[in-house]
Symmetry: D2
Subunit: 385 residues, 4 copies
Amino acid sequence: MNNKFKSISFLLLSIGVSFSMLAQHHHDRKINFPDVPGYLTLKCDFHQHSIFSDGKVYPSIRVEEAIKDGLDAISITEHLEYQPHKEDIPHPDRNRAYQIALETKKSMKDTTLIIANGSEITREMPPGHSNAIFIKDANLLLKDSVIDVFREAKKQGAFIFWNHPHWKGQAHDGVAKLTDIHKKLIKEKLINGIEIVNEHVYSTEALEIALANDLTFIGASDVHGLIDWEYNVHKGGHRPITLVFAKEKSEEGIKAALFDRSTAIWFNNTLIGKQEFLEPLINASLIVKKAKYLKTSWSQHKKPLTILEVIIQNNSDAEYILENTSDYLLHNNADIVTIAPQHKTIILVKTKQQEESINLSFNVLNAVVAPKKHAHIQMKITIDK
Amino acid sequence: MNNKFKSISFLLLSIGVSFSMLAQHHHDRKINFPDVPGYLTLKCDFHQHSIFSDGKVYPSIRVEEAIKDGLDAISITEHLEYQPHKEDIPHPDRNRAYQIALETKKSMKDTTLIIANGSEITREMPPGHSNAIFIKDANLLLKDSVIDVFREAKKQGAFIFWNHPHWKGQAHDGVAKLTDIHKKLIKEKLINGIEIVNEHVYSTEALEIALANDLTFIGASDVHGLIDWEYNVHKGGHRPITLVFAKEKSEEGIKAALFDRSTAIWFNNTLIGKQEFLEPLINASLIVKKAKYLKTSWSQHKKPLTILEVIIQNNSDAEYILENTSDYLLHNNADIVTIAPQHKTIILVKTKQQEESINLSFNVLNAVVAPKKHAHIQMKITIDK
Amino acid sequence: MNNKFKSISFLLLSIGVSFSMLAQHHHDRKINFPDVPGYLTLKCDFHQHSIFSDGKVYPSIRVEEAIKDGLDAISITEHLEYQPHKEDIPHPDRNRAYQIALETKKSMKDTTLIIANGSEITREMPPGHSNAIFIKDANLLLKDSVIDVFREAKKQGAFIFWNHPHWKGQAHDGVAKLTDIHKKLIKEKLINGIEIVNEHVYSTEALEIALANDLTFIGASDVHGLIDWEYNVHKGGHRPITLVFAKEKSEEGIKAALFDRSTAIWFNNTLIGKQEFLEPLINASLIVKKAKYLKTSWSQHKKPLTILEVIIQNNSDAEYILENTSDYLLHNNADIVTIAPQHKTIILVKTKQQEESINLSFNVLNAVVAPKKHAHIQMKITIDK
Amino acid sequence: MNNKFKSISFLLLSIGVSFSMLAQHHHDRKINFPDVPGYLTLKCDFHQHSIFSDGKVYPSIRVEEAIKDGLDAISITEHLEYQPHKEDIPHPDRNRAYQIALETKKSMKDTTLIIANGSEITREMPPGHSNAIFIKDANLLLKDSVIDVFREAKKQGAFIFWNHPHWKGQAHDGVAKLTDIHKKLIKEKLINGIEIVNEHVYSTEALEIALANDLTFIGASDVHGLIDWEYNVHKGGHRPITLVFAKEKSEEGIKAALFDRSTAIWFNNTLIGKQEFLEPLINASLIVKKAKYLKTSWSQHKKPLTILEVIIQNNSDAEYILENTSDYLLHNNADIVTIAPQHKTIILVKTKQQEESINLSFNVLNAVVAPKKHAHIQMKITIDK
């Protein structure tokens, strides 16, 4: 086209591209997701280890890592039955990592991080490994019968989830499989949640089990070494976490949300959760900052343009991969639109006639609500005059 | 899981994540796509301007930009009928930009860049603007009757394509529309291709017209200012180009491929082309470097693992967004897998039993073969012993 | 030392290091130096070319580059006697680049950039090349006798400076040499300044000539191609500029300052200017944000510490290389201290006893006031209670 | 100057600038210094802590950090007399951290890292803290009388150095002071070295003590938490280390070099060592890749140019800050030249007449050989024909 004929909006478009690309340089390691209507979005990692079972760091490092990552809550969940450092660290009290974490928080004068006492029940399959968090005394969980351990945890008010059901150490094919003992534990409410994501691994079968048995979705780092190294935080990586949608930021608030199954998982660039949670989360992430019809300084046709410029601010860490399912075609994208994290992106919508508002809809391809099923969002766009 | 039980492959997985993220730091501005079986993949931008119509740079800059971008061929296509700098630059010869570009190439001792003589036929709609490239003498195109201009270009052996049919200066709704005069020009082979991408804009309707009328797919920068600024090349951006699949790197080779419709378009992170071109291009981009079953140093089950680690090297600039359509589920991804450009990515495939080879298949969501239709690829993976 | 014994100030120290290093990621291309007491610090490039002599861009690009670089004033100084593009651009008016630059500024709605009309008098040595800026009509400078050209420029009120006296095209040894004709021109006030820096080249002899003859210090890009490419602006590079210390931001303000010799040069990471200008500039760059004695949570000695923590904010683009000439030794540096641009740096000063204020003094090694002589600064530090 | 007149060498110059700036993006955390004639340059950190005294990590992390940093040797030197984690970790064997480090090395199949057994003798001043490394059994150092501890260490063949004599916990003014007991220990060869650099702190007085008493120069991290966090390794930072110039890479080779006082210190961007060590190290770092007289395609003078282009490859991590003390002036720098790490830099030397070889000499301002005294280097440059 002619240079002279270009309108200012093309400059904006070019700037828009620039903003998106800047996202690649977003290096702050704090994990960011917005709150959703009626709920706080709390970033939690409930599966971690320290030197008090088979981890490689003093518990204070877990607290420092969590604060650096901007987490709201953690639990250090030492193996009850697996104590490879016992020769050097023969501590009698299985609450020790928790106590040291609390002391660290205090000495750092931190007032934001919630630390839940927790333990990993570490058995062969079935039932494999499970985490009991929000327990009162880990020492009382040292029992022979695994069912007794679960019952004691429940007695203490714990929220209990099945860890990495797909772990290759216990499943040669990486496939999570529900056994009779799991069914029994679930039925007795001794298992309340399930890890769909553990460390670097994701399980479609665990997602199916969660949906079929109404279990809370859990994602966790299961970190033993350093978060920085395991998750390449200085190259834009992050640990997997559970996003807990809570009424308040407190132990009670989180526990209530976990029992209510109000969670989602943030893993690599993927969100995993039910449509009822992911839809508001994604809508809260994507804010329309401007919606205005393009103008042109020159045209052959003299008609008002019906190409709508929409500037969307992404207030989350997710690079959303959207598939356009609207009635409208886009002027600067095919059907797939990528929305860079923490930046503005411009999309141009061809509306055929000038409207006062339009509805856009998208499948969010990096947001999973069920096997092969993605979150779907609607955006009602009120057009600026 | 227990720290002790982790196998080396988990370390690799972690490294894989790291490689992917490194891609964000890939700042070399040269555009890279591999050759495909039987053809060279040539990177071409056939729509550009200089001061000899309404551009802002001397033609030599277009040559330098092209060499910096690693292009194989360009054309500087000055407007025949739009000469806003005429007062200052009243050159009588409309081949002048072409001549200066050739001189620049010579003075730079470059032997790789092909420069095609070209002109932009600049008329109101219909037929709007068109580029004639591989012409012999632009001066002879200065005729009153637009049809005469197309005929003269054809007489000179030109390849002619319809520019930005969706341009807001000539289409208030941004919609490309085929008129009778276009049909006539196409029928007489006076229009051979169509821009589906021009500058920052994409047209689904132009794609439909291309498919319905068997026109060559063209994407071009239409640059007037600086490529660096318009396309944010220092933040990872690039100009839109036409990928020409040619038998040889020569004017004749490119021309033959253009008339054969052997092209695709590279625009932002999207490829647009027919399945017959995109499939080999994507397959040539994604090289399997390793495919081996995971091992574990500890397991409860004592069975050989059936989780297959596949390391894929992406030899292109595209960040491929793959949707898994295989019979197999993945161990570290839901159904969407992102393959970072110019780096290695690890995927873990659950094969249920140990195989000698498997077939993976994916829809490539950022590769468009028709409106709402994506390229599809098959990968036969031979498994290392 | 013992972990427990470390005080918070060590954390700060560590953060200080981090701030310094962040400076390496400072990629905004705008050039930044603070104002000095009584004067604005204006960033100016008075030597540039466009297609109207032997440059490669339309003048509008020079305006866009200047705005991107955050400059306050520019001049496009086409060669009067060297017109290699004359065949294509036979414009009769030698003010044309200036006029187009003004139109560009207007069309961009810019109200900040000052554009001075200028020309390059382009003769063999002696006297070689000179720039006359703030002229009224370049056409009147087209005279045979070089002395007549200088006189006409002076008649128009021009500020005139000798260009690249060290240029290898006119000095085989790269050495600037004052000839009789130069002496005469200087004596008659027909040469008012001299380029000590031109493009990528610096001349100690030009600095000596400037000092001996009381000429204004000039540094300029002499750009013919693109600033982005010549000066690697996307990797932290910048064009050489003249910093003009002016009473007001206006043509008259700049002209007055140039005739008053109130300038310095910013070239790579080096400032060149007289002590009277560099000292206030550097002092304005380096702001003490905090000065407080360290504390310690544990000590054997029970005495108040006499190690002073000073946090210095560098508000300029210069990475200052300081040589400590104070009476005090530093606790975290040997005698050389590097102060990263646009960031905070912490220095620790050993004062032997607790003071209310101290004086620090430094040679600034990347600030040149005469051959082998560096700027010297004093910092009076008032110590926080 | 005229665009047409520029020679290729100016392009090179511009590339040179680019290379230097690229250095800012050098993110590999491995520490790199070249070997010197007759000696290997070994990178060593002999002062570190783990959970077995007051550190925050399991000893295995120290081994992993060292391998990531490319170190040749480390020692984990737990406090003998300070055991704040004793309640949890009441291990009876003071060699435990050393043993675990060895096991980690073995399990990682590493064959390059040398691990020396060591302990920190942790007393009030005088004599304060000292490290004994290359000991045989730490348990035998648990004695009441400090002199007995030193004697036992010596009996075991240890190399012993005085730690952080300037530490604010034991010196309120941060000043290292030699006491009678230190003199006695030095005289009896019970103190062999001294930390001039500890963690983030540097001591000019320690340097004076080292020179006056012929003690080995030591720099060490004294890390308690994570190297990554304390030293910002992902922003280009590094821990302080001792460079040991050894005849062979072995425990014996390092020990011999330490007793021979063949060391230097690498701290932030500063080298500290004797001229006899720093001169060969810097000369080994700076390799002349090309030295050729510039040519010009156009000149008024028709004489061969006497401006010499020298391309220097810096094979080290140090950004050398050179002060030109040669007989020659530079064409692209004032007297200070900065040589970016791990990249090429171009300097242009004005030689007045064409020579076959020249000698350049520089003070290296970030290389300290004594208080306020810098290393000095000579470079003999043979000029390419």
